[in-house]
Amino acid sequence: MSAVTEGTPDPRIDIADAAVDFPIFDAKTRSLKKAVLGRAGGRIGTDSKVPIIEALRDITLSLRRGDRVALVGHNGAGKSTLLRLMSGIYEPTRGRAIVQGKVAPVFDLAVGMDPEISGLDNILIRGLFLGMTRKQMEARVDDIASFTELGDYLSMPLRTYSTGMRIRLALGVVTSIDPEILLLDEGIGAVDAEFLAKARTRLFELVERSGILVFASHSDEFLADLCDTAVWLEHGTVREHGPLREVLHHYKGRDVLAELGR
């Protein structure tokens, strides 16, 4: 979401030999007691070391403008972690990651939403977090209002909204901005069918506007609509990176796109 990476020639993502290791502090290792007592008492077994989960390793990827990448893999394969690596939330513990361009991460639509303030205020805050200026957001409020069909509800506190209404709001904000790199994590459910059809066209338009798309989803149909290449993650590494049809074929063991009639 660096709005102004001045003179950005092109959005790009370059990841080389990157790894993301999560330290797992349990209640004991996370406390000072261990650090202090451990030092005084000498090494006790192996528990002086913090266990680590290698969420991602040996990731090498290079994305350029126009890339529409599907991220597939089983639960826990590292899809969300990779998206967060690409967004800059996690910096690689080893290796390098360069992300250049204005990033719009759409991970958890509820985060950054404050239930106590009005929908309008939430639109503004979310927009500011996504790298827009106040003025830009004020210019878009009408557009978002008509898209979400929330009308007068927008001045009500968010806690009065249903789940579907919240998602509308979040989608409305996200699809109204102009990101150079769009990172989508699944979880765009709980919206009624009619709205989804509308959100779909808007989502497609957004993808058109954005330079790079990375989309993690289990929905083959969505992936087929939006992406042309795919990255298959397994146990935190890239198992395969190539055209969507082939990767999906290998991943699922059957030609999914043919079944969808593509």
């Binding site: 979401m1 996370r30 406390s31 939330i89 958890d108 985060v111 500011l128």
Partner: protein, 291 residues
């Protein structure tokens, strides 16, 4: 605006080539990235400015008086403490009440920065894990919120100075640089406490008890001048908070300015900023992993 841009400055022309040419970039532990974080956070001031206001408005949502409660509760506490401790130490109300209120005003700011600083990243876990933003954003928001509280409490000082006139002079202008120093120290203290407390979760309760202790070690509800004759009183000078209170309280009450406190605060500011920057440089990128 804040980059998730894992690197900002150094880039080569990446257009077209699809080979993974990853140029050398400053690593996660570089000064460039640390200062970049502070800079980008500063650029997002419309965001944290707004969030800071929201924090305050939220606390008093649906109450009739709203943020006015900040001033009222401060006024009530200062008055009660002023009268109580004034009676205990045999101090005249006309000088002691403004003294206690001003001390509390400053203490609340210092306390807020340290105490909330230790929770700042833990409390913002959701934002940190889901939205890319410089970590300094949360620090700016916190200190800004404390400044707003300070402004509300300043009303009580103003009222008391009107009711009980103090020998104010041109030295009152020194309150401005004193407050600037306070803010600067609030920033580094919140950053440092925040980083350490995110890694070691025992720190917040330790800080909470420590600040309670510090409150009584700081001449707020008692007068340092009066205890001068007691040889133990000199130990109060070891309490850093005391010097922060003095540099701001002296101009606000028209007391003589004692420059020793300014020198000590200056030294603390330089050392604190240096240590905090070092922590930011080394552990900035780890905060997202630790929350």
């Amino acid at each position: 605006m804040a980059p998730p841009v894992t690197t900002g400055e150094h880039r080569t022309d990446g257009g077209g080539s699809s080979a993974p040419v990853v140029p050398d970039v400053p690593g996660p532990r570089s000064w460039q990235r640390a200062f970049g974080d502070l800079r980008q956070g500063w650029r997002q001031r419309s965001l944290w400015g707004y969030l800071g206001w929201q924090d305050i408005k939220q606390r008093y949502r649906r109450s009739v008086l709203g943020p006015l409660w900040i001033s009222i509760s401060m006024g009530v506490i200062a008055t009660a403490m002023g009268i109580l401790y004034g009676a205990l130490f045999g101090e005249p109300i006309a000088t002691f009440l403004p003294y206690v209120a001003t001390g509390l005003l400053i203490w609340n700011f210092v306390n807020g920065c340290i105490l909330e600083g230790s929770e700042v990243f833990i409390a913002n876990e959701g934002l940190i894990r889901f939205l890319p933003a410089p970590i300094s954003l949360h620090i700016y928001r916190l200190v800004w919120r404390q400044m707003l509280f300070f402004a509300h409490n300043l009303v009580i000082w103003l009222l008391l100075v009107i009711i009980f006139p103090q020998p104010l002079s041109a030295s009152v202008l020194l309150a401005v640089p004193a407050f600037v120093l306070l803010v600067l120290n609030g920033l580094w203290a919140a950053m440092l406490c925040g980083i350490i407390a995110t890694r070691f979760r025992d720190i917040p309760p330790i800080i909470a008890s420590l600040t309670q202790l510090l409150f009584f070690m700081t001449p707020i509800v008692w007068s340092y001048e009066r205890l001068r004759t007691n040889p133990l009183a000199a130990y109060v000078e070891l309490n850093p908070v005391m010097h922060f209170v003095e540099i701001l309280r002296q101009p606000l009450l028209g007391q003589d300015i004692i420059w020793r406190h300014w020198v000590i605060v200056g030294v603390i500011t330089v050392v604190g900023c240096a240590v905090s920057l070092l922590a930011l440089r080394n552990y900035r990128a780890r905060v997202a992993y630790w929350v």
